[in-house]
């Protein structure tokens, strides 16, 4: 009952609250089906109760917001239904169609009491979210990006995003490590959460890490398995699928589940149903490379053998042909040589004969000619011999005459003849006096005449004027 204070009717807070509660209870006595986005589930594990945060958004803006309660018993039933139908638990960020009544508590205020949630509605919503992701990836040009990357002929270096203790990871390693062909695949684990909402950021974090050491790897493998089919809607996240599609290396997936393919698997470079199949796919790549190498090796051996055999055959054939041909040629040549030999013998004999005749002729000719020459020469000699005495006596007479003439001349010129003609010769001290200068006054000189000598003394001398 309101109190009257200073002409005013005043209610207590509790009275107002109780009034609201009473009004709401009479106005909203039954339950309604309501659709809203469950922003947060707010599940408290110690009590098992949930206090979901419900919103309605318009163009991304919150236009209505209300708290709600979901008690432990209902939560468990609903969650089972979700897991069976959606392969997803009740979680943050899904759209729900729920049956609720409006409650009002004086302390906690207005809230919706959730009694049931229809999984079909959420399933449709998740599916349409998945379709929206696909549509956006396509319109933004990401959808086929990773598929366009070429897996190397030998994918040897693999960055694995997985959980170390998971069965899928163990299966994968088992196949690649124990392959009977001894193919060697290098792998490096980047551990991540692989299901539930946290998987998105966890996988994206590891992708960023791999991006930093991308030059060490040929491809990325996302491997999951053994975790059941629950909590895979994270693989439909636009952010995650965009990061995978846009990754510089081919990303291959082996997520291991029986439900419809997630968007991640759709956009990955290659998807295998299980990690084991993914490992087999890699080994197949090695086979694909090894097989042509092996067949090239075989072909090479065959061809080399064939070529060698062929050339051996050719050689034998040539040798046989050569032997036949040479045998024939040799016997032909031998015959020819014999013929030539015979002809040579004959011809040289004939030639010799003719030379002998020629020589005989020549010698006769020589004999005749030489006799002739000797005769000629001897008659010439004879003639000369006859003429020598005649010619020589005439020569001697002439010489004698010349000598007499010379003797006469000499006689006229002799000193004796000169002395006879009245000339005398002067001497001084045994030396001939030829000039006035040879004597001085008082010198004793000797004069020789034809019949004796006169010794005299020089009284004077007079130089002859020779003008």
């Amino acid at each position: 009952m309101p109190q009257l204070i200073q002409d005013k009717s005043v209610f207590t807070l509790l009275e107002v609250s109780q009034s609201i509660k009473k009004t709401l209870a009479s106005r909203y006595g039954s339950s309604f089906w309501i659709k809203a986005e469950m922003n947060k589930l707010n599940h408290y594990s110690h009590t098992g109760h949930c206090y979901p945060d419900l919103v309605e958004k318009l163009d991304g803006r919150v236009v209505a917001q209300m708290r709600s309660t979901l008690w432990k018993r209902e939560y468990q039933i609903i969650n089972e239904k979700f897991l069976a139908r959606l392969k997803e638990p009740l979680k943050d960020g899904i759209k729900i169609l729920f049956l609720a009544s409006i409650t009002f508590d004086p302390i906690y205020g207005l809230s919706l009491h959730i009694q049931d949630i229809d999984p079909a509605y959420t399933l449709g919503d998740l599916e349409s979210e998945k379709q929206a992701t696909i549509a956006k990836l396509k319109s933004d040009g990401y959808f086929y990006l990773n598929k366009q990357l070429q897996i190397p002929a030998i994918p040897k270096r693999i960055a694995i995003i997985s959980v170390e203790t998971s069965k899928g990871y163990a299966d994968f390693l088992e196949v690649i490590e124990k392959n009977q062909w001894h193919y060697k695949i290098f792998h490096f684990l980047f551990p991540a959460i692989l299901q539930g909402e946290n998987a998105i950021s966890s996988i994206m974090y590891q992708l960023d890490k791999i991006r930093k050491v991308v030059h060490h790897f040929d491809l990325v493998a996302i491997i999951r398995g053994g975790g059941g089919d629950v909590g895979l809607s994270c693989y439909n996240s636009f952010e995650l699928t965009k990061a995978i599609a846009n990754f510089p290396l081919p990303v291959i997936t082996g997520i291991g589940h029986a439900t419809n393919e997630t968007v991640t698997e759709l956009i990955s470079n290659f998807n295998a149903i299980t990690p084991t199949k993914l490992a087999e796919f890699l080994l197949q790549k090695f086979h694909d490379f090894a097989q042509p190498v092996n067949s090239a090796q075989l072909r090479l051996i065959q061809l080399s053998r064939l070529i060698l055999e062929e050339s051996r055959h050719d050689l034998q054939f040539e040798a046989r042909t050569f032997r036949n041909a040479t045998g024939k040629t040799i016997s032909l040549n031998r015959l020819e040589i014999k013929n030539i030999e015979r002809t040579l013998e004959k011809q040289s004999y004939a030639h010799l004969q003719s030379q002998v005749i020629h020589l005989t002729n020549l010698s006769q000719l020589l004999k005749k000619d030489s006799m002739h020459i000797v005769q000629n020469e001897s008659s010439a000699l004879k003639y000369l011999v006859q003429n020598i005495p005649k010619a020589s006596s005439a020569f001697f007479v002439q010489r004698k005459r010349n000598l007499v003439e010379l003797e006469n001349s000499l006689r006229i010129l002799s000193p004796e003849a000169i002395l006879k003609r009245g000339y005398s010769i002067l001497w001084k001290n045994g030396k001939l006096v030829k000039s006035i200068d040879d004597v001085e006054q008082g010198d004793v000189i000797t004069s020789m005449t034809v019949d004796g000598t006169i010794v005299s003394k020089v009284e004077s001398k007079e130089t002859k004027n020779n003008e």
Partner: protein, 68 residues
């Protein structure tokens, strides 16, 4: 990249040799040389399948250096 794709080049060369021999482009004189080269290439290709050059420590070192 070049080093990484070595085996593809090796395989292509191998195939070319086989093709040349198949088409009779190779004389008996060249055959032994070609076969020797081909077996080298086969060895390279097979080694690529059964060995690895990647080093875990190098990756860890690279990861650390980019973290800082």
């Amino acid at each position: 990249m070049n080093k990484k794709e070595n085996y593809t080049a090796a395989f292509e060369e191998l195939q070319q040799i086989v093709k040349d021999i198949e088409e009779g482009e190779i004389s008996v004189d060249d055959l032994s040389g070609k076969v020797r080269r081909a077996s080298e290439l086969i060895k390279i290709c097979k080694a690529k399948l059964t060995s690895t050059e990647e080093d875990v420590n190098a990756i860890l070192k690279d990861l650390e250096s980019t973290d800082s």
